[in-house]
Each structure stands twice: as structure tokens, then as C-alpha cells.
Amino acid sequence: MPAADLLSSQGLRLDGRRPNELRRIRCKLGVFTQPDGSAYLEQGNTKVLAAVYGPHQASKSKMSTEAVVVNCQYSMATFSTGERKNRPRGDRKSQEMSMHLRQALTAAIKTEMYPRSQIDIYIEVLQADGGTYCASVNAASLALIDAGIPLRAYVTACSASLGRRSATHEPLVDVSHIEEAADGVCLTVASLPSTGSIALLEMSNRLHMDHFNIVLTRAMQGCRDIEVILDGAVRQHLAEGWTKQDVITI
């Protein structure tokens, strides 16, 4: 049963957005000079940094002769959450997130192009306000483009929930922390919007099968909208003509 308080009688969500509104996304490519590719992405109050190293020689234990090995690490800064987090990484949630990131990004990278090599993707969450997985996938996508690694398509991620207003059920796009904590369902989708395929689908809490389709469609639409934003950012970055790496730092 969708939580009744996710949507007010005026049709506004807990943070004042309309059901079909994404949070403001601001991003920048080429934030650091050391990694091969880097990006910073803000989705509302969630702030994420992504760094990509590679492709470089794979460690013997991880090497594969057929395709490139994608290695992801998801780390949250200790000051990122409301309550201070004791360990930035290494706990079960971070490891699960790293695996999910790997799942989504491996689907997007043209892995057959770099056998015996490894691509490292490191995500650092500076501020967590819901949708950290989605922001991480989006930031990683930009960082991979900044590193010049060939992708099959943009990979974007978006979450969706279900709200109830009088008798109608309305899907809510881009779930924030306050909505996640309100015990509503949260469906996270990582997809390649140009091809329309889904790389990862994850859901928490309960959702009736009758409503599954509308929530999934909403999330997929959210992915397409985010792709437009990311594409615009990439084009603007290229139009600026230079990255930090081109400027000789003393």
C-alpha cells in the first residue's frame, strides 16, 4: 500500500516538487587532473564525485583474456550522511553498491575492446540525500566519457516511487531521502536510454503488480530525461574547448 503522505492533496511531494519533476542536476566534467577521467554531479542535495583510471594493465588475479575487467568502488564520506558514518567503505552496503555499479557500467562499456586490461571507477559520495546510486551511475557515465572510454550508449539511472492522492495512484520520479525514509516503495532503474534496455533493476519495499508498469515506465522516462541533461553537459564541456588536463599546472 503506497504511503498516503507522500503526496499532498494539492499534488505536492514532501520536498515541494510535483510528481513528475526531477531534482536539479548540475554537473562538471574534468574536475581533477590526476585521474584519466573525472566528473562531479549534483542531483538536488546529493553530491557525488567519480574518477576513472584506465584502461591499464589488469592485476594477474583479475585478468580476463576476453574482455576488460571493470572494477568499481563506492565510498561515502563520513560527513555525507545526517548521522556521521564511521567507516567510509568496506561495509556490506558499500560492497553491494559497488557490485551494482559494476553491473550497470559493464553493460555500457564496450568491454571487448580492451582484453587483459582493467578499468577502475571510484565513486565518492560527498553528500547523501537519497538517490545516491542513481547519482553515482550518472556521474560515472560522465567520468567514463571524460576518460575517452568507448561506450555503447549513455548509462543513466533513475528512481521512482508511488504516491496516493485521494483515489488515484501517481508515480513519483527521483526519490529523495525523506521519501525513502517514509517507507514508500523505491524502484531504481539503470538503463541505456538510446537502446531502451535495462541494465539493472532494483526495488525495495512492496509494490502491487497492478502498479508495477506505471512506476517502471516513469523511471524509464526519468532515465531518458537525465540522458538529455548529461548529453547537454558533455557537449557544453567539449564546446569550451579545453579540460583542466590541458592547462599546465605548476
Binding site: 548540475r26 562538471k28 574536475v31 581533477f32 587532473t33 590526476q34 585521474p35 573525472s38 562531479y40 549534483e42 542535495n45 553530491k47 564525485l49 574518477a51 583510471y53 572494477n71 568502488q73 565510498s75 564520506a77 563520513t78 560527513f79 555525507s80 550522511t81 545526517g82 556521521r84 567510509p88 567503505r89 568496506g90 577502475d120 571510484y122 565518492e124 560527498l126 553528500q127 547523501a128 540525500d129 599546472t249 605548476i250
Partner: protein, 310 residues
Amino acid sequence: MAGLLLSSTEKVFIVHGVQEDFRSDGRSNIDYRPMELETDVVSHASGSARLRLANTDILVGIKTEIDTPKPDKPDMGKIEFFVDCSANATPEFEGRGGENLASSISNTMQRAYHSSQAFDLKQLCIVEGKQCWKLYVDILILECGGNLFDAVSLATKAALFNTRIPLVKALLMDGGNVDLQLSDDPYDFKFLDVGSAPLLVTLCKIGEKCVVDPSAEEESCSVISLIVGITGNSKSYCADKGASNLSDVDIKCSTISMNGPGSLAPKTLKNAIHQGIIAAKVLDDSLGQALLRERRENINSMKSSYGFLK
């Protein structure tokens, strides 16, 4: 730090340049590289600062918590440092790779802030013996471009300057238990007095001379480096006009440590410490001016925040 390879000729070039007080990028031995500093980058934290010193990028977040004071120090609060070397800086820091470096930096910072003349913990006391503030200083190293200790201490001082401590609105003493009510008003807070907080200065011995703010290439040419923690001057951090009447506080050294496989003659050590004190004075002064200017702009709502977007 990632994949830095210098040929022996390049090393000789750097060493010879330093002897002449002329470094590869044109600086003198006591010049710092240009820095960018911005406070209040992370809104979830009580205070934060981001410092960019050429290639080095440090992000510091401060979180406050109510805690009981130590029984032998009932009127003093607590401060704890935690350093995290992010894998963004180099793949070697993945997982637990950066733990050695992180623990050495956090131990040095803990020692530097230990003295009450460096950072007065009495300002963190709420109810003597029962409740005090505990500050968690979380330092995130995003990129390593040489000279980590200096950058970390500068960013920490800026973040502490930016920290807002909520004011206590009501206090309920219930038979030994204290129940606090903090003010909900986001504009109801107090700032900390961090004027005397120490700044770490790294002096790298290259050949016979010592240089301040070594770049990564210069660090690889030196066998030993000295880290001195110098307390700041509260005068530079006071916005009042009456600040010029404050007497010049004696500069004190709160910690000294050495890093590297080499050794240092006592005379070189003394000269290096004096050099560090001079550099720290100038640095502290400029930091104070920049932070005061930012706070003024913030109050007048003239400050535009960039974070990582610029």
C-alpha cells in the same frame, strides 16, 4: 603520487636550482603555490572547507555531537580527527591501501591540536562534568599533488572557522541527568574561536637548503622532510576594529615530526624551524584575511557558492 618517475638528471636539476633559491616553477624557497579555498561546501555538515593547492585537493567536513566530557577534564570538549584517502587520488588507495598515510596525517593533526594554547577545548563545554560538544573533523583527500600536511591543516582551520555550533535553548536537570534542548533556528549559532589553531608547515630538505611547499617532483628529490605545527595569531581572525589593540601573541610550536629515510643536522633543524615559523606567520595572516572576507560576503549575501562546479 601515481606513477611519478624522475630521471637522475631531472633530480640534479631540481637540487641545483634549490641551492640557488630558484625552483623549477620560478618560486623562491619560501613561496607557496597559489591556493583556492571555499568554505561551506557540504551543507549537511556543521562546517566544511575545500582547499585546492595546485594539484592537491582536500575536503574537510566537521560534524558536531553531544558527548560526556572525560572525567579528568570536566570542563573541556573533545575533538577527533579522521583522515580518509579517497581512491580518486590514486588507485593504490583502493580499499585499505591509504590507511598508513591516513593514520600518520590524523596522528600529526591530533598532536598539533592537543595543546590548549593551540585550540581551546573549553569553548566546547556545555555543562561542566556532564555535557560537552565533540567535534569530528573528517578530512577527505581527493587528489595528491605533494604537500599534504600543509593543505590538510589549512583546510581544517578554514572548516573550523566556518563551523556553526547550535546554541542551547533550554536545560533540564533531572536528578543528575541533563536534558538539552537545542535551538531549531538555523541562524541561532555561535562560531568557534580558532585564531590560534595551528598550521602545519612542511619543510623539505633538498641538498643543503630547505624548501617550503614542495611539489610532488621536489618531494621525490628529498631524503627528509620536517613538519612543524605553528600556532596561529588570533589577531588576524578578529573582525572587530578593536583587534589592532590586541597584543601580538607569541608564536608557539605545537608539534614537530620528521618524515623520510634520511637524517638532519641540529643546525639545519634549527634553521628549518625558523624558516617554517616565518612561512607560517605569512600563511596564517593571508588565511585570516581571506576567511574574514568570505564571512563578510556571506553575511551580506554577496557570496556565490561554486563547490566543485567551477
